[in-house]
């Protein structure tokens, strides 16, 4: 297992957002984490990176416990997150956003120029925009920049939080094509999405989260076949 979450609990004050969730992602897989709004999906991803308060349970990456490490160390070990709402640095240029993605260590910094070219090849839409402030990009371009910025640190595993949120349908298709391309390049992906259909189309396995608990787990074929997904979404599983 590349990434393993065991009995994870996340609380924000009195709110118990994640209740004893266990899940695992294997090297090279795309795993979809589905569920309605407020089910705790983002909290799980944030807790993996040390950005949400973990009140119980553990996270291991490459066999080593990472739950007590600061965010920046986790990223240096090869696990990263493209957060919900993209969160590009709006007052930095596209180039600066990309550069900062490779600032984690000396080796990455030496390779920055090459990796920037690689990213611009992967995201041609960004090429003409490199000197533009990131805040002036369209939503789709910002999402591409956010993913490219994450990839600048050459992660083994990428956690993607709602990459299609608020984007036009044709841009959503582009983003999902890109996720499939990343898998071909060997990046392991844990994908949080509202778009169930597209997610199941590219994922190997999936988990359904409801009220902070895993309601359903299985391969995408299993999830699609039983009709249990719809029932779980409606809260009657």
């Amino acid at each position: 297992m590349l990434l393993e979450v065991r009995d994870l609990d996340v609380r924000y004050g009195a709110v118990h957002a994640v209740r004893g969730v266990s899940l695992a992602v294997e090297q090279g897989e795309i795993v979809a984490l589905l569920g309605p709004n407020g089910a705790g999906k983002s909290s799980i991803l944030n807790a993996c990176l040390g950005l949400a308060p973990r009140s119980g349970g553990s996270v291991t990456f490459n066999g080593a416990p990472i739950s007590r490490l600061p965010t920046e160390i986790i990223v240096r070990r090869g696990l990263t997150l493209t957060p919900e709402g993209r969160r590009v640095f709006p007052h930095l240029t596209v180039m600066e956003n990309l550069k900062i993605g490779a600032a984690a260590n000396a080796k990455l910094r030496r390779e920055t120029a090459g990796r920037v070219e690689e990213m611009l090849a992967l995201f041609p839409a960004l090429t003409d925009r490199r000197t533009q402030l990131a805040g002036t990009l369209s939503g789709g371009e910002q999402q591409m920049l956010a993913i490219a910025r994450s990839l600048m640190s050459a992660p083994q595993a990428l956690l993607l939080d709602e990459p299609s949120l608020g984007l036009a349908p044709n841009i959503v298709d582009q983003i999902f094509d890109l996720i499939a391309e990343l898998k071909r390049r060997g990046v392991t992906i844990l994908l949080v999405e509202q778009n169930v259909e597209l997610s199941l189309a590219i994922a190997d396995r999936g988990y359904l989260l409801a009220s902070g608990r895993i309601a359903l787990a299985g391969t995408t074929a299993e999830l699609k076949s039983t009709g249990r997904l719809e029932r779980a979404y409606l809260g009657i599983a």
């Binding site: 990176l49 950005l51 600061p70 965010t71 920046e72 990223v75 240096r76 990263t80 997150l81 957060p83 709402g85 969160r87 640095f89 709006p90 007052h91 930095l92 600066e96 550069k99 900062i100 993605g101 600032a103 984690a104 260590n105 990455l108 910094r109 805040g135 910025r149 994450s150 640190s153």
Partner: protein, 294 residues
């Protein structure tokens, strides 16, 4: 006309010093959300470092460099001791901690050194007037303006060109996401404090050239002014700090030069009224801080 131009030079020189101090406050505020009220003590530390360096017989230029280095290092140490342990508490707690640091340093200066001013004579060449384009201008003012301009240029280059500078700007807009880039949060915060200390040290030199002595409260007034300047420009905005500092310099020098004698007693009150009037029309300051788009 000559008088007017001379006042412009004075305003630029005073405003530039405020700008450097306000920038120091703004850099820390933008990254950490903290108003460091012990910022003025960094100036005072520079003063005492120069005083003791000169007393120990070090050459004048060495003493000045040493003074600036002491402010820079002290700012980094201050963060490590007084703010880092409180990082996860709210901003008010850190604010109180900065008051405590300021109060403790005051008392230490008073008890260990002296409550009375210690003289630091400015070098001879700064006491003269220089003729520029037919105007008699104080060398101190010219040096102040030049030093301020060079400092601003250097800071701009650092923030735009270096990875650490870009990281500092990134952290100012979204701290957690900056950590997601694998960037050491402590390093960025230490950098912000080092910049603020460096700027406070440089401002202290300019201040010392003007007044020629150091006492325990030396940093209090200029940093109070710098705080006003930072608010005037837009708290946390770096360009705002510079604009606010310069504007405050122009307001103060303008009132000192042109207010009738009978009203000079009300100079500060009138100056602050102008500041309030500006804030009435620009409540977030003249160049408001740009928040991250969420």
């Amino acid at each position: 006309m000559d008088l007017f131009l001379q006042q412009v030079v004075n305003a630029l020189s005073l405003g530039g010093t405020y700008a450097l101090l306000a920038l120091g406050l703004a850099v820390v505020f933008s990254v950490l959300g903290l108003i460091n009220f012990a910022h003025g003590e960094l100036m005072t530390l520079t003063g005492y470092a120069i005083f003791f360096a000169l007393a120990a017989g070090l050459p004048y230029p060495v003493a000045l460099v040493l003074g600036v280095l002491v402010a820079t290092a002290s700012a980094v140490v201050m963060e490590r001791v007084a703010f880092r342990p409180l990082r996860n508490s709210n901003a008010t707690v850190m604010l109180l901690s900065s008051f405590a640091v300021a109060a403790m340093l005051h008392v230490l200066f008073q008890n260990l050194i002296s409550a009375r001013p210690k003289a630091i004579p400015a070098p001879q060449f700064l006491m003269r007037n220089v003729e520029v384009l037919g105007l008699q201008i104080g060398a101190v003012q010219l040096v102040s303006i030049a030093v301020t301009a060079i400092s601003l240029l250097g800071l701009t280059l650092f923030l735009r060109r270096s990875t650490l500078g870009i990281a500092t700007r990134a952290a100012a807009s979204d701290f957690n996401i900056t950590r997601l880039m694998g960037i050491n949060a402590n390093l960025v915060i230490s950098t912000a404090f080092a910049i603020s200390g460096l700027l406070a040290g440089i401002a202290a030199l300019l201040w010392l050239f003007q007044r020629g002595s150091v006492d325990p409260l030396m940093g209090f007034l200029p940093v109070l002014k710098a705080f006003i300047a930072a608010v005037l420009g837009g708290l946390g905005s770096l360009s705002g700090a510079v604009v606010g500092g310069l504007l405050l310099g122009f307001i103060e020098v303008g009132l000192r030069a042109y207010l009738p004698d009978g009203m000079q007693a009300y100079r500060e009150a009138i100056g602050l009224t102008i500041v309030i009037a500006v804030l009435f029309f620009y409540p977030s300051g003249l160049v408001p801080r740009r928040e991250a788009v969420r």
